[in-house]
Symmetry: C2
Subunit: 178 residues, 2 copies
DNA sequence: TAATAATATGCAATAAATTGCATATAGTGT
DNA sequence: ACACTATATGCAATTTATTGCATATTATTA
């Protein structure tokens, strides 16, 4: 149920619509959480029913109305409880590694192609994260302390991608003919 | 449905029982796939019904009987098709990062404690992987080529944990008083 | 002009994962 | 004696996630 906690954390930082949260999961904080819009809308509904968040409808011209959600006092209390609890380490399910592991049943070229494809995706992911990092660097010194902890998580995203790319380059070298 | 493919890859390498597969996910290849025993038994049943694997019952003294599963010709064909397909990059859902991101709502000490706890878990994980690596290093040179691709995946596990630990040490330094 | 992308939200069916329970035997520790 | 761990398999209920569909408007692109 950590999707709920992710939503609470993001909404505590900044009241948002489901669509905006969906965008954040796609780019901004996608390095630590990913969720489809269907999942997000479902959980927002549940959180509202449970009184942990509420919303105000915002009329817009041209576009459909937005529901701007914000965390309630009860939601804030629940969030704090969760933040003080023990959480299970995240489990890894990496299909690309499964593919490489079983690569002997197909040609190296088949695996190589897929690793290269994923390398490109990760490369683009890293570039996005570095762009976010430079926004942080260019921030006014008075504003930086506010983003101290989010920046630590961003570092994990960046280091993670860099480490992944280094490994991928080794794999590509190993699998490339000659 | 990549759990099914993980099972096929492991069974193609070595016919095994559900329990043995469960052990492999816990230690051996846990760095790229994790699954509970309930999930494994359910999927083994489905794979059997679909004719992708079959089993022979092995009687044991003292212990319950084992079902030794192996991949069928049809299963091998299915596996090869999957190995040649495009796979979606794995999505990350990292609750610890959510916690750090929202850390401003509790004290640094609360976050620090949980990061330290996770650091210990990852440290032990790395040690296990390094132990597996040394088994590979000590392998007869004639046997090494057989494990070339699995070893590449092991490297990802090792690098991943090392990168994680480096980051965690930075976080711990940042959050520790003074 | 027609198609597509972007904004904005949601339902319903299915698939997958988690949680809790159940069974059975052997060995080890307290 | 009693609890716990390891081996070995499984069902059932619930929760989560995925896939497919649906709606409505504006702006952009071919």
């Amino acid at each position: 149920m950590s999707l709920q906690h992710s939503l609470l954390v993001l909404l505590a930082e900044q009241p948002s619509s489901g669509y905006e949260l969906s965008q954040k999961f796609k780019s901004g904080v996608g390095y630590f959480w990913k969720a489809s819009h269907q999942q997000i809308y479902t959980q927002l509904k549940k959180l509202t029913e449970d009184g942990l968040i509420d919303f105000e409808e915002e009329q817009q011209e041209g576009k459909p109305d937005k529901k701007i959600y914000k965390v309630t006092a009860q939601g804030m209390a629940g969030l704090k409880t969760w933040l003080s609890s023990e959480i299970k380490p995240s489990k890894t399910n990496d299909a690309l590694l499964v593919m490489i592991y079983g690569g002997r049943y197909v040609g190296d070229d088949v695996i190589l192609k897929e690793v290269r494809r994923h390398r490109d995706i990760h490369q683009k992911g890293l570039e996005k994260l570095l762009a976010i990092e430079s926004l942080y660097f260019n921030l006014d010194d008075e504003l930086k302390p506010q983003y101290r902890l989010p920046y630590l998580t961003l570092k994990r995203g960046i280091r993670g991608e860099q480490s992944w790319l280094e490994w991928a380059d080794e794999v590509i070298a190993e699998l490339s003919p000659q």
